[in-house]
């Protein structure tokens, strides 16, 4: 079972990275059209939670980071973002907060406050306790 999973991962790593590159092109075009919320949704959607490959996670993080930094209106974003994305967004926010880079941390702190108001402490706890699907 573990061997099978390892085999699947090695194969899929390349496929996933190609998918992430496609996604990043789509997101760039969405950002040019001033649609940061759609860009964020696209970035969060195809998140590959089951891989343990660091490259896939880093590649996906770069894409999500781009989308997060492009958001100017946090309140407006939450009115159009579906609740199913809250958990995965919270995980990426914590990843952003751990980078230590000042503009990223500023933006992530702003979004974190509003997201906690919206989604509650359960969202934070789910991102803390989920050791299987990490970002």
């Amino acid at each position: 079972m573990a061997g099978h999973a390892g085999f699947v991962e090695a194969d899929n790593a390349e496929a996933i990275i190609t998918r992430i590159e496609h996604k990043s092109r789509k997101i760039e075009s969405l950002l040019k059209q001033y649609k940061p919320v759609e860009a964020l949704k696209t970035a969060l959607e195809g998140s590959p939670p089951k891989t343990r490959d660091e490259r896939c996670k880093s590649a996906n993080w770069i894409v999500v980071h781009r989308a997060i930094m492009a958001i100017k209106d946090v309140e407006g974003m939450f009115s159009s973002l579906d609740p199913e994305y809250y958990d995965i967004l919270m995980k990426y926010l914590y990843r952003g907060l751990s980078t230590g880079d000042r503009p990223t941390c500023d933006q992530c702190l702003r979004i974190h406050e509003k997201l906690t108001e919206r989604a509650g402490l359960g969202c934070i706890l789910r991102s803390l306790s989920d050791t299987v699907n990490t970002v």
């Binding site: 914590y94 907060l97 751990s98 980078t99 230590g100 880079d101 000042r102 941390c105 500023d106 702190l109 702003r110 974190h112 406050e113 906690t116 402490l121 359960g122 934070i124 706890l125 991102s127 803390l128 306790s129 989920d130 050791t131 990490t134």
Partner: protein
Amino acid sequence: ANTLRLYLTCIRNTLEAAMCLQNFPCQEVERHNKPEVELKTSPELLLNPVLICRNEAEKCLIETSINSLRISLKVKQTDELENILTKKFLRFLSMRAEAFQVLRRKPVQGYDISFLITNYHCEEMQKQKLIDFIVQFMEDIDKEISELKLSVNTRGRLVATEFLKQFI
């Protein structure tokens, strides 16, 4: 100042969510009860550690486990003098960790000060008050260090003036 407020709110929310501790006797050794976050022997008892950075200099690491929670802080130090003052001041506090109960005697590697909160603390004291204490501590530490720096500079200036008067 606004980022400070956001930073503290983020830490407060994370602590409120993470401070869900219960008694859990040691799995390996009979009749022992150890804070699992310090030992890290069993991965199923640990949650993901969370690092919250305000900027390049200040950060806060929160590690939780089933019966204990460890919070490590790195305080902003802009110059050499603040470096020395912070180290001495926080060492002064850490040495009196008994009185604080939730303070750890040695900070975690890479940080200035650490707190260890166990389920026993949560049973004796209120969770909200513990969180208020930690956040208040973070606010006050900055003020304390600036006050210390100011008093060191003032005293240095006074002493130097007095000493050099004899040469006039």
